[in-house]
């Protein structure tokens, strides 16, 4: 995809792909082109060249939220669903509305206008609206921004369950990599309108803290970087548990284990 | 001043030329009119004034001898101040003298032309000219010069030969051009400057179609 505004190139030959049931992350600094790409995918903007292909003949192949969730602030949750549903020919009765809201963890009990909702609730309602008419692809633009830690956790759970239960292809963007790491299967990095790195997020760097970390033998099987009582090890996410078990068997006194995302490294070179 | 001189001359002439002050034919007609104690009638009013458009209006009139004419209407009506008084009682209210002016043929009928000159200062007209239908003993035309309201020409038409009260009264008068405050003029109205500048008085007419008389005579 190529896109320019007033002679300024925002997207230069960008390509991404995502399968049903997969969660893909799009990470990039502010102004890198994430929102523009999403708008093109969602049909709000037209690309100068390139195409969007979605493997479905459904009337609504793709749904999503761009920038902030846009809702009719003077209407309540049910009315919002009704409005967005009706305009695409759906009949939203109370039962259907209840189902849609429960799916995203909201309830019909609140009847006050949506302008009173917290950002987290607005996000959820926005997702419920995006999911109307069962799209095969869901696009979420910076869904975690402005949410508190608990809000982020519950939203991540929701995203994962949507992907696995409904087999929806989900593409999320953020400028904070840590948010995407735990839930994304694939990570795209966009910088100055170009996809500079693409890699499955399976292989991650972890920092393991232990006073006697240097005594470990099993660590020699991995690419490591030692620094006093801390080691940075490259390992696939699903193999981490086994490594930790082995380290514990070696009587290594592990006090912490955190994933490390080196933003600079991520943008400058392929590190994964 | 001019009026006073005129009156004096007439008085002099009439004194010199006639032994009685009021014409006999007029007296007869007056008595005919006086025999009407009261009446009611329906009036249809039509206006013929260049700058007024008004549909035909209906009103009822009630006359009682010695009293003012009473009008009633459901609609808005514009009634000419003169010409309503078909018994011409206003002319005969105060003392007057008559002066014969000759004869005139109107519509094939000979009419006697008389000037009525009031001798009482209280009369509100200065002179009137009556055209009497001698055959049918009634008044056909009256031209009245009022002191304050200009000159009126009243033309009376009768349905039947024996009627003394008219069925059609045509009142002609002079009327000044309207001056309209500009801010009331409708937006669509065109300001015809040439017309506005013409300060000339216009002639207007009102037609009174009278019907359904209920007359009480003595």
């Amino acid at each position: 995809m190529l896109k320019s505004f007033n002679g300024y190139s925002v997207l230069k030959d960008v390509s991404i792909q995502c399968s049903g049931g997969e969660v893909c992350g799009l990470v990039g600094a502010n102004g890198a082109g994430k929102t523009t790409l999403f708008k093109i995918l969602l049909g709000l903007l037209s690309a100068d060249s390139g195409s969007v292909k979605i493997n479905t003949s459904h009337s609504k192949p793709i749904g999503g939220i761009v920038e902030k969730p846009s809702l009719y602030g003077y209407l309540n949750a049910y009315d919002n669903l009704k409005v967005f549903g009706s305009i695409q020919g759906l009949k939203i009765d109370k039962t259907t509305a209840q189902q849609q809201l429960l799916k995203v963890g909201l309830s019909l009990d609140r009847i006050d206008p949506v302008k009173n909702y917290s950002l987290g609730m607005k996000q959820r309602l926005g997702i419920a609206i995006a999911l109307l008419n069962d799209p095969k692809v869901l696009i979420l633009d910076e869904p975690f921004s402005g949410l508190d830690p608990l809000g982020i956790i519950s939203l991540k759970k929701l995203i994962l369950s949507l992907a696995s239960k409904d087999q929806i292809a989900i593409i999320i963007s953020s400028h904070i990599v840590e948010h995407l790491f735990k839930i994304c299967d694939t990570l795209f990095v966009i910088k100055e309108g170009e996809i500079s790195t693409y890699a499955p997020t399976n292989k991650v760097k972890y920092a393991i803290l232990a006073s006697n970390i240097k005594e470990s033998k099993v660590l020699s099987n991995y690419k490591t970087l030692f620094d006093d009582d801390r080691v940075i090890v490259h390992i696939e996410k699903d193999k981490l548990v086994d490594l930790l078990k082995n380290l514990l068997q070696e009587k290594i006194k592990i006090t912490a284990c955190t994933p490390i995302i080196d933003m600079e490294a991520l943008f400058e070179k392929s590190v994964l | 001043m001019k009026n006073r001189i005129l009156i004096f001359i007439f008085l002099l002439v009439s004194y010199l030329s006639f032994s009685q002050e009021i014409d006999n034919d007029l007296l007869f007609i007056k008595e005919r009119l006086d025999s009407v104690v009261s009446y009611t009638a329906d009036i249809d009013l039509e206006t013929d004034i260049s700058f007024i458009n008004m549909p035909r209006k209906k009103a009822e009139v009630a006359y009682s001898k010695g009293e003012d004419l009473k009008f009633s209407s459901d609609d808005f009506v514009m009634l000419p101040k003169r010409g309503l008084d078909f018994s011409l009682g206003e002319l005969f209210k105060y003392s007057f003298i008559t002066v014969l002016r000759g004869k005139k043929n109107i519509d094939g009928i000979d009419h006697k032309v008389l000037n009525i000159i009031p001798t009482d200062r209280k009369a509100d007209f200065s002179i009137a000219t009556l055209y009497l239908d001698l055959e049918k003993k009634r008044i056909s035309v009256a031209e009245i010069s009022t002191k304050k309201n200009g000159t009126y020409l009243i033309s009376l038409q009768y349905e039947k030969d024996k009627n003394v009260l008219p069925n059609l009264v045509e009142v002609s008068f002079e009327i000044e051009r309207l001056t309209i405050p500009l801010n009331f003029m409708g937006k669509g109205a065109k300001i015809d400057r040439k017309e506005l500048k013409k300060d000339t008085a216009k002639e207007g007419k009102i037609y009174l179609f009278i019907s359904n008389y209920k007359i009480f005579k003595n």
């Binding site: 708008k39 903007l45 037209s46 749904g63 003077y74 020919g89 | 808005f76 409708g186």
Partner: protein
């Protein structure tokens, strides 16, 4: 398409500003009536002063019909000013709140969506004028009674009460077409500017300029017929003693043509532009 129209009515009904606007309109109507009542007597005196020498007047001219006529004179400026806020707001708010973006994330046809807004705007305008007509007749007849209507349009025209009522109704109907034009114009401006305040200012400017220009006399008759500001005064023609029907129908058809063109321009701009 029906569901889009229904939803637009739903949104209109649910917004407080719709009711504020309606309240404002009826408040203005009330104030104009009161002022008209106090002014009416003076105006009648001025109109009829030269006739008082020659005529007696019997009957009440300061009645419901006259007051409704006086209301009509000022209506066509106040009402579009307020209507435009509601109607242009139906699109500018969606731009500003970005709900328009959210709408087109759903499978919705662009031209159907914007056309439904035009339709709802037009229907709303018609309903408002209808309500105004009903309330003004009811109120004026209740408090001031019926009677002849006197109007000055080059000549002093008097109309029977029944005739006056019919003419006033026709004047309301004719004025409705002008109101529809302003509503459609405001929506098109809203599509163009995408922002409330700019839209209001430009729309108000149109209204004011049209009002001023309508006083001008065009040098050629054809220009008079096609000149838009003048067309908005067509309602006045019903108060000429002989109603010029052909002229009126011609004017209204031309006005409908302008409405159509303005609508098409709005739809085209909306279709061509990216929502994002």
């Amino acid at each position: 398409m029906m569901s889009l129209i229904q939803i637009e009515f739903f949104k209109l009904r649910k917004q407080k500003r719709t009711f504020y606007a309606l309240g404002a309109i009826f408040l203005i109507e009330l104030i104009v009536f009161v002022i008209a009542y106090f002014q009416g007597g003076a105006i009648l005196d001025a109109l009829l002063s030269t006739l008082k020498d020659t005529f007696y007047f019997s009957g009440k001219l300061l009645n419901g019909n006259l007051l409704t006529y006086m209301l009509l004179n000022s209506l066509w400026f106040h009402i579009p000013l307020i209507l435009m806020i509601v109607i242009s707001g139906s699109i500018t708010t969606e731009y500003q709140d970005k709900t328009l973006q959210a709408v087109f994330l759903q499978p919705v046809s662009k031209w159907k969506f914007i056309l439904s807004k035009y339709i709802v705007g037009i229907v709303f305008t018609i309903v408002v004028v209808l309500l105004l007509a009903i309330t003004s007749f009811s109120f004026s007849y209740l408090f001031f009674g019926k009677g002849d209507l006197v109007v000055y349009l080059g000549t002093l025209n008097f109309f029977d009460s029944k005739d006056a009522f019919q003419r006033l109704v026709l004047a309301f109907a004719s004025g409705t077409v002008s109101m529809v034009f302003f509503s459609v114009l405001s929506l098109t401006l809203g599509i163009f500017f995408r922002e409330s305040i700019k839209t209001w200012i430009v729309a108000a400017l149109f209204l004011i300029v049209f009002n001023l220009l309508s006083q001008l006399d065009m040098p050629f008759l054809a220009m008079n017929t096609w000149f838009l500001p003048k067309l908005n005064n067509t309602w006045q023609y019903f108060f000429y003693f002989d109603i010029p029907w052909i002229q009126i129908i011609l004017h209204l058809l031309i006005l409908c043509f302008y409405i159509f063109i303005t609508l098409i321009i709005g739809v085209r701009i909306f279709q061509k532009r990216d929502i994002g």
